[in-house]
Subunit: 486 residues, 4 copies
């Protein structure tokens, strides 16, 4: 293998010749620039330089092999350059944000003090690097839908039934025929390694240990192969959340890889065609710049008078190749033609589309607005579920219906199930759990929910999940005053 | 009687041989470990040691005689050991929480300044040991139901009637045929001695003096015998709140004892089969640990990485032997077979169960969600009462209906009575009153309510309780802005 | 006239012989003790002593002549005693509250800065002695009705009409046939002299100057004779707010005096039979005690352990002789038999009673809950008006309908008039205006309202009051977020 | 030209002879005093003195030529006086408010950090002179309608549609046949030069660059001639917002000038007949007086005891000559008789008037309550639009319907368009944008909205504006909790 030094590499910093260093290896990424999901400008910002720190936490380990042709793996950095980089890194003072995180980790509460989902979120938010926090926590525009997703649950009250035999109460159920210890799954979410070095594997192992099912995102920070390989048992089920590439051939290749790796279902994401406006994420670079420079004067900025609007956040780059022309007529039959896996539509946001999905023969529907991260003022999924139950109860017989968004309590899970949902997904909550406590946090979160679900079942007078029924829930005409922290 | 020293006793600290010291006496509680309502771990934490301080405030005086076989009453602590314990106690500095309470007691306002129920609550909250406060004040999950119980009353407004003769207005009524000065009773509540050394006897004496009726909890911190003996007159009525033991024989024995002691009715509690999630109570040990160690470093905790979820609070241990398989068909006839006392179902939370209770021939129903301490998002009792009145008015003719939860004002009492309730129960309010001012506080609280009820009757244009009618109340379609302190 | 010294007088301090000094004169009030509207204990607190400071601001000048028989006017204080009292008064330091008021008066904003009703209230609240503030501002229980009275207006929005000729817009109207510059009157309120030395006369003169009508309360701090004498013109109309004495003869005498003095209508108050629970007023003595003793230790209080509940406030004493047995059948015909003045019922709080009042042939109805000072959770008058308009529009043809409570803006007045009210009353707002600026404040307040009403008429597309109509108002189904200060 | 000195001019300070200096020229304005739209007192406050600083920022450059007869242009100030004025100005310290603005400008964030409409508003509010802020930001009475205009949008949620082909999504549309890059126009607003020296021309140039249309107010701080002359291309469309003068001849002259200058439509303003109560604006002089005199004692004020109520703010003076007697029958035909331009009625506030406007043959309707600046409690335009759509859908076929008030997000625009609006207007937002960043700010604001609109269209499943439909929007029965800053 040839070796290169920093000076040589630094000269390749243009769109016509763009090299980068990653983990002391040198790559020519010129041809890939315009295929990069985040657009070429992201790479150009690092052209001719060491890109390791920026690259590693948000890309699967096999991304370079997959996307950069072998002949563009130019060779290694020479020893002198390696030492120079290492030295530079040592000299470089820790950032204020890194110091903040270090201090926070020292004060991390013992897991025994985490007694509900909210505790987990609050704890993780203190521990996360700001960039990760901004990506995980951000939601669209004014976060109305993000907040209303959760608030919707507060308008549904119970009619608990008493004097019913409930001993031996069992919280287990199935999703697409696969057994689960509680009717909850880990919803697909990107970039788990921003929060914890082991990333999505924490979900894989935690899910196995706790008896629930993980959905793996196309945008996971580990490759779907790595995650499949991390399964604790050959029959541990895994679901895949697909962002369909606009090129059908590319998309078909991915689907077939997934099927070959033993994934058990495909959740086709239909609510995320283009990057949305997640302002916390967009503002994160500004926030960090100000945080690091506290007390010093902001340098003038060449962008000061620009008229164009950038979306700068972490999220922006993940989805620019998504297919914007999917239709019920074309896309579902095409998917059936390339895979035998069950197909679930994730991102249905109104009753009409739920009906169309069922008519199109989908195996499941996720009523979801992407956790309030896409279109603000999309109706809360629980409200859509309630309407669907009122207006088209036949849908629940044709297909399994799930919801995600805003679930924080066992009572939330039970409300959704009473109204016809087969299971519910949690995304951010599991991201927070693994960020703060790794695999153990994931298991702990399931235990919390299981305890709350079991208690709720006792109180509602049921001893198995299938006894939950719509009569046990009432949509009230007032709005409870929620705890301030929500 | 043999005597033992501390060293001897300390050796019996395992599940196969477990001794404890209580009030300078030595008990072998090995056989009882797994019958303890709070589970064996509670006792094991004190095994081989003096358990007096932890034991006394939350157990009736006769509990040891009742539950520990005579031969397991091993004997006395020897004199040297008694002195050693006493010395240790003297040396032991007062805790920060004890000092806080002492200071608060010095600033206790005179009773003349307590002019409403809220004042009483606020005063008591400042005076209570944190452990007691956490047990009394805590509610399920996010306290939504606890708060909404009270907030429900704010959506009901009056249609006061004028130009009606109201002189000689009389606030008295009856409950199950027993006379009461106002249509209010002291609802059963556990562990009154956590707040005041005389505990439940404050209720007994205060109720007599004020002319109202006390309901005694199975979990009272005095035995039901002691409370019965504290009656001020042989005909002072007393109600009993029964947590039915899962073993019918044990349960029957308790019921018959109750009847023999002269109790006048049994309120069978049906909403509390298993321990619920009361987070303030659960967090109390953590809170106190942090409070005592303020400014010092928390020691590392062996539970730091556990995945299981403990409920640590005071409440947890009270109910683990409750019958989880009661039914209308089985349990009511069985109770009729063991007692001639009136049977009231406490904890009905929806219209359907109220109808079933009436059909089952119960003598009364308490619409109650246990003060929001069991299932969060259980409908507020006042809303259930309103629905019951709208949908099944015949129930009020078949049986007496009571409600508890969220009552703080005479107007609250009147709203419930207009909608058909025969009387209302207050639990926490009386706990706070006796904690802050003993028996006198209990009487004062009744006087406050009586004054408010009488004024309300004047304003509504009625001169006796039975003139209250549904037309005097309207459920409005807006939510008043409540005072911040609620 | 005989004279007495302080030592002699001090001996008459029992219920069997009770003397007091008022304005250096000596009265034997023994026989009057139990006729005192505030009860004997109020006088007994001053027995054998100089009662001037407590007596003067809350009693009409002629009260002594009226209630104390001539032979009980014993004589004068001797010169030495007069000097002694004067000296004592000089030595006596000003109270903290007096100093606070003095300072506040120095910072009173110029009237030009008072641009709305809320400004007037805020300004006055800073200037008032605490006792006056507590009496004026207090409301029943938790002030829900007081707040909701105002909040009700916020749920009514306008349908303004454009392209209508509105030049020459005229805000004047009539009440019971008497001309008024705006459809607003000064509602009867007690104790104006607590806030300003000239008291109710500020209303009389201000009303004349601004062209509106004053209603005089039975509990005014000037006698109705004095107020009648203060009229600026012989044809200035005056209304009288009657609290009917339980003794018909006493009541008839008062009514006939009123008629003889030239009052033009009688507003019979029916919502205030007994003293209500106004907590700010009740707490005022405690508040002042703590305020004056700031930093010092509270002395122990003999009432510390009392069980009875006192209402200590200023309001309590005003109404204990009110007739609690008025009825439509008896009282209206009786009033017609003793007076030819128009009879208006003040304090109607529901539709049913409005209908009964109209059927009883009353000349007017005031939908009022006494400014939220009597029964908390009485429906807001605007809501009652709206219902009355929906359910019994014929009432508006039979009788004039007024409302009071919660009016702060010209738009509030217009909403009430659109829904059928003939005029609206303001009480507290005028109390605040005269307290802060005397007669000028009263005129200024009318000018503010007139400007707002005129602007509103322009915007609604009407040029005279009678063009206001129900179609211009809509009750919306959401609750606006009101400014924090409300 | 004759010259005058300061002493000579100072003598002409009465209503019978009133001279003022503006830009070193001397004018006799005696005859104009009572034609001044703000009333004579505004000029009299500057009589005999240099009025330049007060005059310039709020009057078009040609106002003197237009309103003051040539013979009243008396001549120039002499050189000595010019120097004296200049000297006086130098000596005069900057005001605290000027210093505050200077400091704020130094900390103005780069435009790249302005990522939504709210950011723009917040930034501008920090930079504006207080007088400008008070004029721009103020709203009627308690700002209820101003706030509810925005809050109304929060009650409308989307039914986003998935699996629809949306690539090539196009945000452009037309208004009255004129092309616009997004369905948004700059609504007419007065006095842009209060916020930026170039004033309305920033709108003209920014609108051209961003491809949208500007509406020019009668009360613009540049003349409509100047603004027309600033067009970037001869075919750049411009709309005119007309406040019709009460004198038809004066009004016709203005309309014909407008037409001759090439304006493309007339928006007749019908909701602003008389000055309204904008309290922030009214209080601005008091606020500034206190701000400048911080720490010093307020001088006593001759107005301290006045009873009359002044409206002192900037807004007051603009509209006192408006026609208060417009009607559908008279005014529309009259306008048709004097112009061939399309006529749009701006300020329709209820369904009934929208129907009448359509019947009167108007070319368009703006549902508007003047941004909440006129009648408080006027219904939010979005609610009127919703009702119009429900009750009179035919109106949308007869005429174009626009709305303004409360729009801050692309989603707001889309909601209005789904419900039938052809376009929406923003006023304050553009004032803030040009105040903070001039023309560039205007373009940036359009880019923000365009990005949000395009994203919303993608998410709703439409690729052109005309595919937006009522089924995509639902009015919900709860009120989202809005971000605190709203």
């Amino acid at each position: 293998m040839p070796t290169y030094n920093l000076t040589q590499i630094a000269q390749h910093n243009t769109v016509t010749s763009c090299w980068v260093i990653i983990r002391n290896k040198v790559y020519d990424v010129t041809d890939f620039l315009f295929d990069h999901p985040g657009g070429p400008q992201v790479i150009m910002g690092l052209a001719g330089r060491d890109a390791t720190a920026a690259y590693v936490p948000i890309h699967p380990f096999d991304a370079l092999d997959k996307h950069i042709a072998p002949e563009k793996h130019l060779g290694d950095l020479d020893q002198a350059s390696i030492l120079e980089l290492r030295q530079a890194k040592k000299v470089q003072a820790k950032t204020r944000d890194e110091l903040r995180v270090e201090e926070a980790l020292k004060n991390r509460p013992p897991l025994s003090r985490i007694i509900n989902v909210q505790d987990m979120e609050e704890t993780a938010k203190k521990l996360l690097p700001y960039k990760a926090l901004a990506y995980y926590a951000s939601a669209a525009d004014d976060s109305i839908t993000h907040i209303e997703n959760a608030r919707a649950f507060s308008r549904f009250f119970f009619h608990p039934r008493v004097m019913r035999s409930v001993s031996g109460c069992d919280t287990s159920s199935t999703i697409l025929g696969y057994k689960t210890s509680i009717p909850v799954y880990i919803s697909g979410s990107a970039l788990a390694r921003l929060g914890h070095p082991l990333g999505e594997v924490n979900f894989t192992r935690g899910a196995y240990k706790a008896g629930i099912i993980q959905m793996v995102s196309t945008n996971a920070s580990l490759s779907y192969g790595q995650i499949a390989a991390a399964r604790c048992s050959s029959d541990q089920p895994l679901f895949f959340q697909l962002y369909k590439h606009k090129n059908d051939t590319t998309a078909a290749k991915r689907i077939q890889e997934i099927e070959a790796l033993g994934y058990n279902a495909i959740f086709l994401t239909v609510d995320t065609l283009v990057p949305s406006n997640r302002e916390m994420d967009t503002r994160a670079p500004h926030y960090l710049e100000d945080f690091e420079n506290q007390g010093t004067k902001r340098k003038s900025d060449s962008k000061d008078d620009q008229e164009e609007v950038d979306i700068l956040g972490t999220a922006g780059g993940l989805i620019i190749n998504n297919d914007n022309d999917m239709t019920w007529e074309r896309t579902i039959p095409w998917m059936r033609s390339v895979t035998r896996l069950p197909i679930i539509i994730k991102g249905v946001q109104c009753v009409a589309d739920a009906v169309l999905a069922a008519e199109a023969g989908c195996d499941g529907i996720v009523l979801s607005n992407h956790g309030g991260r896409q279109l603000d003022y999309s109706l809360p999924p629980l409200e859509v579920l309630y309407k669907l139950h009122e207006e088209h109860p036949e849908v629940f017989k044709k297909t399994e219906v799930y919801i995600d968004g805003g679930i924080r309590r066992g009572t939330d899970v039970l409300k959704a199930l009473c109204l016809g949902a087969k299971a519910v997904g949690l995304g951010r909550a599991f991201l927070y759990a693994q960020s703060a406590y790794g695999e153990t946090g994931v298991v702990h979160l399931v235990r919390i929910l299981q305890r709350e679900i079991r208690f709720g079942m006792h109180s509602l007078g049921v001893r198995s999940i299938d006894q939950l029924s719509p009569e046990m829930v009432e949509r009230v005409d007032w709005q409870p005053a929620l705890p301030a922290k929500l």
